[in-house]
């Protein structure tokens, strides 16, 4: 597990997001960049919290797209990687509060896997902050909205997913800007990273 991931595992949502502000604030704003973010939400808590945010008419950015799972325990590493390969700029899981999982421990497994994916991303030269685990109860509509806002802001700062080709946007340049030259020995590094993800996924599917 990376240091980041270890830290994140012991932090509250507020702390996680607050820490980001400090880290990410220094980064240049990506004017006009609207990130695509996938949220994996468990049926019992986080999905219900998102609905409650709706009932309460709490406003948050339009960037998050939800995929409902019975439990974040069902969230597989391969699904997280696939999201990046497909081009998502950020991915997070939202599960029940720790100790309150409807399926007893699913959210704890999810946290572990998110930590693992952070390590993989880092190895691939993708900022591990692009993936995160959050916890909330079904009564926390406000927390859902706040998380969506905070995470969108984070990804907005981190810029586009470097493995996704976009018109008028050089992914290699973007990665270099974020990670420094060392992370990207040559211009094809982004493609390499994308290919590596594909390889990991294919390997996973084979076994």
């Amino acid at each position: 597990m990376t240091n980041d991931a270890q830290e994140a595992a012991t932090m509250t949502v507020e702390q996680q997001l607050a820490a980001d502000v400090a880290v990410v604030e220094a980064m240049p704003a990506n004017e006009g960049f609207e990130p695509e973010i996938i949220v994996f939400a468990c049926h019992y808590c986080a999905y219900a919290a998102a609905d409650l945010a709706g009932s309460m008419r709490l406003q948050y950015p339009t960037n998050v797209r939800m995929i409902k799972l019975p439990c974040t325990g069902k969230l597989e590493v391969i699904h997280l990687l696939k999201a990046f390969e497909a081009g998502a700029d950020g991915v997070y899981a939202a599960g029940c509060l720790e100790g309150e999982c409807h399926y007893l421990k699913g959210n704890l497994w999810a946290r572990k896997r998110i930590g693992h994916v952070k390590t993989l991303l880092e190895e691939l030269g993708i900022d591990p902050k692009r993936v995160e685990m959050f916890n909330m109860s079904s009564a926390m509509g406000a927390r859902f909205a706040e998380t969506a806002r905070g995470f969108t802001e984070r990804i907005r700062k981190l810029g586009p997913n470097p493995v996704r080709p976009r018109e008028g946007f050089d992914p290699a340049e973007a990665v270099r800007a974020r990670m420094g030259d060392a992370a990207l020995p040559d211009d094809s590094a982004a493609e390499v990273a994308g290919a590596e993800i594909t390889a990991i996924i294919e390997e996973g599917l084979k076994t």
């Binding site: 609207e34 695509e36 996938i38 049926h43 019992y44 808590c45 999905y47 219900a48 998102a50 609905d51 409650l52 945010a53 709706g54 309460m56 008419r57 709490l58 406003q59 948050y60 950015p61 339009t62 797209r65 939800m66 995929i67 409902k68 799972l69 019975p70 439990c71 325990g73 069902k74 969230l75 597989e76 391969i78 699904h79 696939k82 999201a83 497909a86 081009g87 998502a88 029940c96 509060l97 100790g99 309150e100 409807h102 399926y103 007893l104 421990k105 699913g106 497994w109 109860s137 079904s138 009564a139 926390m140 509509g141 406000a142 927390r143 909205a145 996704r164 996973g204 599917l205 076994t207």
Partner: protein, 1479 residues
């Protein structure tokens, strides 16, 4: 307990109370084969638990845990939910009751309501939200809380407001006032104009009986309703466009004679109904008396014309200068093709009094005078004018002649000062303008000069006589009181007459005493097709609003006539008058009525300018906000207009129904103790003093502050919060402990720190009653977090008025007084038994105990005094959620026992068509995009999204619907499935959490597998949360639809298969828990194996000599044993153990192994663990070193044998918590306080002078056991607290001596005793560990069994089909054990009642070809479901037991497991679709 009248019993039960206990009971019963009527007084289920933020001792989110229950209860085919309902009476016998259920109108049809919430958006009435304990507002049209089930809105309507009832035209005055208060003037105008086109006019000159009736008049002054009406009219005239022409829907034409208020109202209403109407008016302009009788300064012609223009704008034809009888006749109209004629003629003739000189020069009638002024005819008026009359017309005439140039105007009337008929306003304004008024004078003659010109009027003083038949009081002259007034002009304002020449000879229409004769209700005259209204058809000159009302009624009557319907009364529906209670009025702040600006008297008296200039917008809103919303629902009908599916039923009536049931369960819960009686703590006076439930809402993320803790007085975050325990418990009025408030306060104190880390909570308490499982650990956590506990009951709280802080005065244990300052105080309010059920107890025939709780007999914790009626939850005694839930399942079991023979007789099962086989077919997706009224469509381009969906691969049809879930839309989905041969369906609308089952059901009805359905949430997760970004929201909606279509194409049908089920149970343990559970299941007709390892049934309860109520438990045990042994279904295996257990829910197989080694294989569907607990004998306080130190159970034996060690003991001490609540055993054994107090009382009663001492850490006599604590103290038992820091020292060799610290004296005392009784802890029975391993069920750290969910599944294990009860779960008393045993039986029966188990659907399945048998899944499944098959040596997941979480799927290193409905292909499809093909 035996089955009553089995052959005739009804297979249904009524459960009263939709809280968590009622829901659990209903679910168990419905699953167990019974039809259930779930009766709830609120509009939604959930009870108090739905209001909680968190639940102790885990601090789980309450909503998370209760929401699935809500959904389950709401969806169950065999639970009929009756909300807004009350069980009023119960007749009949057990097995065959008739229950009378009253139902308060909901005013919304639940079958049509889609819960879109558009109604609440537009509702202008805001009232305190009871769900949020009044700390937030809600609308009159509301859903109790966002997750409420039934997921349906309701209207709070207390009747009708006094203002509406007082208005002749039934104007919803409260409605437009509320809309003005909300700043919604357009809607306000619509409401004001709905019954009355003369908004502008009546806003100026209405007699406003609404204001006379206004409740606010009882406070300081009524709402200025009329002025508000004028405000909205003036606003509308400036801001609203002219009306559109009304559509003509019928061929019939209607003629209206007279363009006054009644005629024009009738014309307008008929035009709106769809008739061509023509108004004939004799005068050159429309308006009738409004135009020709009311002077300009009071009603400007322009204002009147605005009203008239809005009528004419609808297409009403006006023909002026058309005099009836001259230019046309009624007959000619009928001949000209008018099918109906309305006579809206007024009283146009002025009538002077019949006195000498009434025809002199200079005499006018007011009617003629005012008419001539309007027509601008030349009028010769003198300088000194006398007006005869005191009504508004007299004032109008007097004030008008001033403006014509008169110098002096005097009004003379027959009425006395008190009864002058003119309005206060006219009198005041007249007086301002210099008009004098002389009362109690009747004119006797008009004096003239020789030319016949007026010179004066002669009067007599008079009094008013007795009223005649029509209510008129004739004046009676007083003898010899003649006087004379000089003047040159006299105006008679003394009456009007009908100029009805044209009616002469009109067949069938009669005129009597100046009035047209007509039917008062239908307005029909004697001539068919001819109707009448207005001043000429009334009991005398009327007011404008009454004329309007008459026109309205006549129009509806004419419509009925023309449509060939019966001419029936078409009066407005009236409901009882609603007024706010005295308590509300008494606490209102006085807010003066807004005064409308007007031109000063001296300035205005010579001009015709309008006197009053109208409210400003700010004034209007401020004035409207004074409204008290008497009826809550204002009947503005904004909701009706906003509701797309037409679900509102504002005329719904309250109803009463009889339901036939075999049994009844009272689960009606508690009411918080009202705080009025505890005024000493300042509740209600000091804003920073809250009740615990109020504070709970404040802590809740979905509460009024979204979880922010703030002082109500100033919004400041508190730094010191005090909790005061036992408010409304353990006092003179409540000699019981409310059981839950200590833990409630612990929880709230901890949550306070979570929310406000630098806040210091302090709890003032007498005892910490943490006697439940895990409660002491929870208390310890609170201590660790820094919560401060003070052992004191504060005597007084005062508010520091400067800061709003609370000053709490309290006494410490040494008797020292302290006063401390706190920012905020929370009162831990006690629980009282449901007041409604207490009130109904008489009609239900059940006895209550002295506290008002349900009267229960010992050993029968579920039976009320009426056979066939059972109880569950706090209505029996204060209890927490798990105890209530357990009791609920137990009551269900009791019902199942009593109705065993009628099981399954009334349950229904829905039949669906055969499902079409779609395997191998190419996906043909149908997409339905919902507008949800305007909920989605106001933000998202729904049509665009639907068109876009049509372009997606695999989509063969796409549709947009206003409400996709309305029944006609669902029918359309079914049609389209057939038409387009659809094999996948996607709905883009609200949330699958509430609506997926509805659509899946539609698929099944259409012959498709329900798993071929997919939903995109574009409301809760798009339109509602991106209101300000319509483009982004539309894009997101399209993305979500694209993702859903992509997944839909990958969906596969899933089938639930029937898994056979063994209808037998194994019960482990033959104590009272095991015996009770076995007997209950046996009585229900299931085979039971009761396995007891000893040679005797009864368990440890037999060691007790006498219960606290004085009975011998052995008798109860013997009876229970007879019941068990007598039942042929129950096989008792003595001296035996259960071994070789394997299998899964419904299909367990085990071996019963006797002590002799005999092995009996059994098959069973369920297991119940009832292995009990035992008393520990730790070597503390001298136990074991002296005969004089014994345990509680030892004492029972000594008492039973009347042993001299007790009998002759001169002093006895009890040491509570001996070896518990300490570092060894951190938990409370729950029963020993009561046991010790029971025996202390017995010892005192035997020998009152014998000193008895009790040393304790905590006294935990929860619930009604508190009485015995009170009794013990009354008998002189000495109670002394100790703690783990300063434990008493016991010296025990020959004698016993206790050395302890007296906290009050603050010094140590040595106390010699003859007997010391230790309350030692209860510990789990040996063998728990082995059994837990065999059954694969978990234990707690203390060695007791760990249930599936502390709150809502107290007798279940996470592994399906395994249950527990009794002290194996946690130490408990006899009644609790019986209750839990029934609960386990009830839960087990809910499984055994099924012919077969349904398995499959969203479950994990192993591909055994890939499986490497690595055991990962076996190890990590939280439910222990996967196993390695013995023959294949591969993992297998039993579908019937799988919970479908997918944890194993994600961890399987070789991806050999798949979770159906969440396959890789399905998840990848969504991910790829998001980015893949955007538009």
């Amino acid at each position: 307990m035996s089955s009553a009248a089995p052959e005739r019993s009804v297979g249904a039960a009524l459960v009263l109370g939709g809280g968590v206990a009622g829901m659990q009971c209903s679910l168990d019963l419905a699953e167990g084969g019974y039809k259930v009527y779930l009766v709830e007084k609120q509009p939604a289920l959930g009870g108090h638990m739905a209001q909680l933020d968190k639940t102790f001792p885990t601090n789980d989110c309450a909503m998370c845990t209760i929401a699935p229950k809500l959904v389950e209860a709401g969806r169950h085919l065999n639970i009929e939910i009756m909300t807004n309902s009350e069980l009023a009476a119960l007749e009949g016998e057990p097995g065959n009751f008739t229950a009378k259920v009253t139902h308060d109108a909901r005013y919304v049809d639940p079958a049509k309501c889609t819960s879109c919430g558009a109604c609440a958006e537009v509702c202008p009435v805001v009232v305190p939200d009871s769900y949020n304990m009044g700390m937030a507002g809600r609308k009159a049209t509301y859903k109790l809380y966002p997750q409420a089930i039934p997921n349906t809105y309701a209207v709070t309507k207390l009747g009708q407001s006094p203002c509406k009832l007082a208005c002749p035209a039934a104007t919803s005055a409260q409605g437009y006032v509320a809309l003005v208060a909300a700043g919604r003037f357009k809607e306000a105008y619509k409401v004001a104009a709905e019954p009355n086109p003369f908004v502008s006019t009546c806003g100026r000159v209405c007699t406003a009986s609404c204001e006379e009736a206004c409740s606010r008049g009882d406070v300081e002054a009524p709402i200025a309703i009329r002025s508000l009406k004028r405000f909205v009219a003036d606003w509308a005239n400036e801001n609203l466009p002219p009306p559109e022409r009304a559509e003509i829907k019928f061929d019939e034409k209607v003629a209206i004679i007279g363009a006054g208020p009644s005629g024009l109202t009738a014309a307008r209403d008929l035009a709106l109904l769809g008739y061509k109407t023509t108004v004939f008016e004799a005068k050159p302009e429309a308006g009738g008396m409004l135009r020709f009788g009311i002077p300009e300064y009071r009603l400007p012609k322009a204002a009147l014309q605005q009203d008239i223009d809005r009528v004419l704008g609808l297409g009403v034809e006006l023909r002026v200068n058309q005099a009836a009888g001259k230019d046309f006749t009624v007959d000619s109209l009928l001949a000209d093709g008018y099918q109906a004629v309305f006579l809206g003629v007024g009283l146009q003739g002025g009538r002077p009094l019949p006195i000498p000189g009434n025809d002199a020069k200079g005499v006018f009638t007011a009617v003629d005078l005012l008419r001539d002024i309007t027509l601008e005819r030349p009028i010769e008026i003198g300088k000194k004018v006398v007006v005869i009359g005191g009504g508004d017309v007299a004032f109008d005439a007097g004030r008008a002649v001033l403006r014509l140039g008169a110098d002096e105007v005097t009004l003379v009337c027959i009425e006395d000062d008190e009864s002058v008929p003119g309005s206060d306003e006219e009198r005041e304004e007249g007086s301002d303008e210099g008009i004098s008024l002389i009362t109690s004078r009747m004119p006797t003659a008009v004096k003239t000069d020789s030319d016949g010109r007026v010179t004066g009027v002669e009067f007599s003083a008079c009094v008013l006589g007795e009223p005649d038949a029509r209510g008129w009081r004739p004046p009676v002259p007083v003898q010899n009181t003649q006087s004379e007034l000089d003047c040159d002009t006299v105006v008679f304002a003394t009456g009007q007459g009908l100029v009805a020449d044209f009616m002469q000879g009109l067949e069938g229409v009669h005129v009597e005493r100046n009035q047209i004769v007509f039917d008062k209700e239908t307005h029909a005259t004697g001539r068919e097709g001819v109707f009448a209204g207005g001043d000429a058809a009334a009991t005398g000159p009327w007011t404008a609003i009454e004329a309007v009302a008459a026109g309205r009624r006549a129009a509806r009557s004419i419509h009925n006539y023309l449509r060939g319907e019966h001419l029936v009364a078409v009066m407005d529906k009236r409901k009882p008058e609603a007024r706010p209670g005295e308590d509300i009025l008494a606490t209102l702040e006085v807010t003066p009525r807004e005064v409308m600006p007007h031109i000063a008297g001296a300035t205005r008296m010579r001009t015709w300018d309008e006197v009053s200039t109208g409210f400003s917008m700010e004034q209007a809103v401020a004035e409207a906000k004074r409204c008290l919303n008497c009826a809550i629902c204002s009947e503005c009908y904004e909701c009706v207009h906003a509701c797309g599916p037409g679900a509102f039923l504002h005329d719904e009536e309250d109803t009463e129904v009889d339901v036939s049931v075999g049994a009844v369960v009272l689960a009606s819960g508690f009411d918080p103790t009202p705080l009025g009686s505890h005024g000493e703590y300042g509740y209600g006076r000091y804003p920073n003093i809250l009740s615990a439930l109020e504070y709970e809402r404040m802590l809740s993320a979905s509460g009024p502050n979204q979880g922010e803790v703030k002082r109500p007085s100033d919004g400041r975050h508190p730094k010191k919060v005090a909790f005061i325990q036992c408010v409304g418990s353990r006092d003179q009025d409540h000699d019981y402990c409310s059981s839950v408030c200590c833990m409630f306060a612990n929880k709230q104190a901890m949550l306070t720190i979570d929310h406000e880390p630098d806040c210091k909570p302090t709890v003032f308490l007498m005892d910490m009653r943490a006697m439940g499982k895990g409660f002491d650990g929870f208390y310890q956590r609170a201590l660790d977090m820094g919560v401060v506990y003070i052992r004191s009951r504060p005597s007084d709280i005062k508010e520091d008025p400067a800061t709003g802080d609370a000053l709490i005065t309290w006494e410490d244990e040494a008797g020292q007084l302290h006063t401390d300052r706190y920012d905020m105080v929370v009162l831990s309010v006690g629980l009282e038994p449901s007041r409604r059920t207490q009130d109904a107890a008489g009609s239900l025939g059940i006895a209550l105990n002295r506290h008002g709780f349900c009267q229960l007999e010992e050993y029968r914790p579920l039976d009320t005094s009426r056979p066939g009626v059972f109880v569950a939850g706090p209505f029996s005694e204060p209890k927490d959620i798990p105890d209530s839930v357990a009791q609920a399942s137990a009551a269900a079991a009791q019902v199942m026992v009593s109705l065993a023979y009628s099981r399954g007789t009334l349950t229904a099962e829905k039949v669906y068509p055969v499902e079409k086989d779609v395997v191998g077919e190419e996906a043909r997706v149908g997409v339905f995009v919902c507008h949800c009224g305007s909920n989605i469509a106001s933000v998202i381009d729904v049509k665009g999204a639907a068109e876009y969906a049509n372009s997606l691969p695999g989509v063969v049809c796409s549709n947009d619907t206003i409400y996709t879930c309305s029944s006609d839309s669902l029918a359309r989905i079914k049609e389209l499935v057939g038409e387009h041969d659809l094999n996948r369906v996607v709905v883009a609308s609200c949330t699958p959490r509430t609506h997926e089952p509805i659509f899946q059901d539609t698929l099944r009805e259409a012959g498709l597998n329900p798993f071929l359905f997919e939903m995109a949430n574009i409301r809760d997760q798009a339109s509602w949360v991106h209101r300000d970004e319509p483009e982004g929201a539309t894009q997101k909606a399209k993305d979500l639809i694209r993702m859903s279509v992509a997944r839909a194409r990958e969906l596969e049908p899933l089938y639930k298969i029937d898994v056979p089920l063994t209808h037998a149970a194994a019960v482990i343990g033959g104590g009272i828990a095991g015996m009770t559970a076995a007997a209950a299941l046996g009585d229900m007709g299931y085979e039971v194996h009761l396995v007891e390892r000893s040679e005797k049934l009864g368990g440890r309860v037999l060691e007790i000599d006498r219960t606290i109520k004085g009975s011998d438990p052995a008798e109860f045990v013997a009876a229970l044993e007879r019941r068990v042994l007598a039942n042929p279904k129950v096989k008792v295996h003595m001296g035996a153990n259960l071994t070789d257990f394997h299998g899964f829910i419904g299909n367990f197989a085990s071996v019963i192994e006797g002590r002799d080694g005999a092995r009996t294989p059994i098959e069973h569907g369920v297991v119940i663990i009832a292995t009990g607990a035992k008393e520990d004998r730790p070597e503390v306080f001298g136990l074991g070193s002296s005969q004089k130190v014994v345990t509680g159970m030892d004492l029972e034996k000594l008492l039973a044998e009347d042993d001299p060690a007790v009998k002759d003991a001169d002093s006895v001490g009890f040491m509570l918590c001996a070896g518990s609540l300490d570092e060894n055993k951190g938990y409370c054994s729950r029963t020993c306080c009561a046991q010790s107090i029971k025996n202390a009382i017995r010892l005192k009663e035997q020998e009152p002078d014998r000193p008895v001492y009790i040393w304790f850490k905590e006294i935990r006599t929860a619930g009604l056991t508190e009485e015995y604590y009170t009794r013990a103290r009354e008998l002189g038992v000495v109670f002394t607290r100790y703690d783990n820091q300063e434990r008493p020292l016991v010296t025990a060799n020959g004698s016993v001596q206790v050395d302890f610290k007296d906290p009050y004296l603050n010094k140590r005392i040595e106390m010699p005793l003859d007997l010391l009784v230790l309350a030692t802890p209860a510990v789990p029975n040996e063998g728990n560990e082995d059994l837990s391993k065999m059954l694969k069920v978990p234990l707690t750290a203390d060695g007791f069994y760990l249930e599936a969910h502390v709150k809502l599944r107290p007798v279940d294990f996470a592994s399906e089909g395994i249950f527990l009860c009794g002290s194996a779960h946690y130490p408990k008393g006899i009644e609790e054990t019986i209750s839990q045993a029934y609960a386990a039986a009830g839960r087990a029966a809910a499984i055994l009642a099924k012919p077969a188990l349904k398995a499959g659907g969203v479950v994990a399945e192993v591909d055994q070809d890939k499986c490497a048998a690595c055991l990962t899944c076996v190890r990590i499944c939280p439910y222990g479901v996967p196993s390695i098959e013995s023959d294949t040596k591969k993992a297998k997941i039993e579908a019937a037991a799988c919970q479908g979480c997918g944890i194993c799927v994600s961890e399987c290193p070789v991806k050999a497991i798949e979770l159906h409905h969440y396959t890789d292909a399905q998840v990848f499809a969504k991910e790829e679709a998001l980015i893949g093909e955007q538009v």
